[in-house]
Amino acid sequence: MSGTADAPRPQVAVVVFPGSNDDRDAQLALTRLGADASRLWHTEPDLPAGTAAVVLPGGFSYGDYLRCGAIARFSPIMAAVTGFAADGGLVLGICNGFQILTEAQLLPGTLRPNESLSFVCRDVPLRVEHTTGPFTAHCEPGQRLTIPVKHGDGCWFAEAETVDELDAQGQILLRYAPGENPNGAVADVAGVCNGPGNVFGLMPHPEHAVDPLLGSTDGALILGSLVDAARLSSAALV
């Protein structure tokens, strides 16, 4: 667990799109990890004053019509999220949130239907590649995490040159452990960040792995990193 009971709680906005379904789990996990997390309907034009981080949760926004995330990226709140990210604000996209961020071109690559064409729902071993940024600071380089996935469209794709570039720049923060790729993602990519490192998307669901009752608490390492980074950035705002 990160932080102490009396540490200030950074404000984290969890955006709710029509069809989001992991927003409450994300809110609960972030709250338990020390954030002041609130849910925000996607038609809001602005983020609440004092927002230190934004989370786009998992789900099936707009029924996954056309392409996953393709319609949600035009929700009114997304202009504010894009501006927030451009100013260096912390933005995390989980599963459908990741898909929305790639459609919005805030993150590289795109998420395609799983190579197997089957929905996958199981715990997946992951390897943490980099730990210097705000989303994986609580992890050790090379650490193995177990976090569940549940998606039909998680096959991350980018051209080979893009993958090499991202790898060289340390933007591939999370990979599926060797031989454990559940969806056919290129280069076993499970999570990738933008160039400056303040926007991160991943297919696994850290919010479903924050309590021993759920089989793993490894998700708390990622969300706890985010809460701590958000606390620092909100302290800088004051």
Binding site: L66, R67, A70, I71, F74, E103, G109, T110, R112, P113, N114, E115, S116, L117, F157, A158, E159, G184
Partner: protein, 81 residues
């Protein structure tokens, strides 16, 4: 003016859906190869002429209907009946 937009997986992009469809067609006894599955979007577009309509639909493709990373598109215009 009516527009028909054909969105298909770009050449060279693996198309698991096309492969699954192809395998089913083979089970049915058809000798098929290179099966690709795309998407067709039909719409009515308000425009003064075909050129303007085409330009509009092209913008639609770039902004929403196709993902340029993995998909290519073709636009066909038909006079509305």
């Amino acid at each position: 003016m009516k527009a028909i937009v054909l969105v298909r997986p770009k050449a060279g992009i693996l198309d698991p859906q096309g492969q699954a469809v192809e395998s089913s067609l083979r089970h049915l006894g058809f000798a098929v190869a290179d099966t690709r599955v795309g998407r067709l979007v039909e719409l009515e577009v308000e425009a003064d002429d075909a050129r303007e309509a085409h330009a509009q639909v092209e913008r639609m493709c770039e902004q929403l209907l196709a993902n340029p990373l993995i998909e290519s598109y073709e636009i066909e215009l038909q006079a509305s009946s």
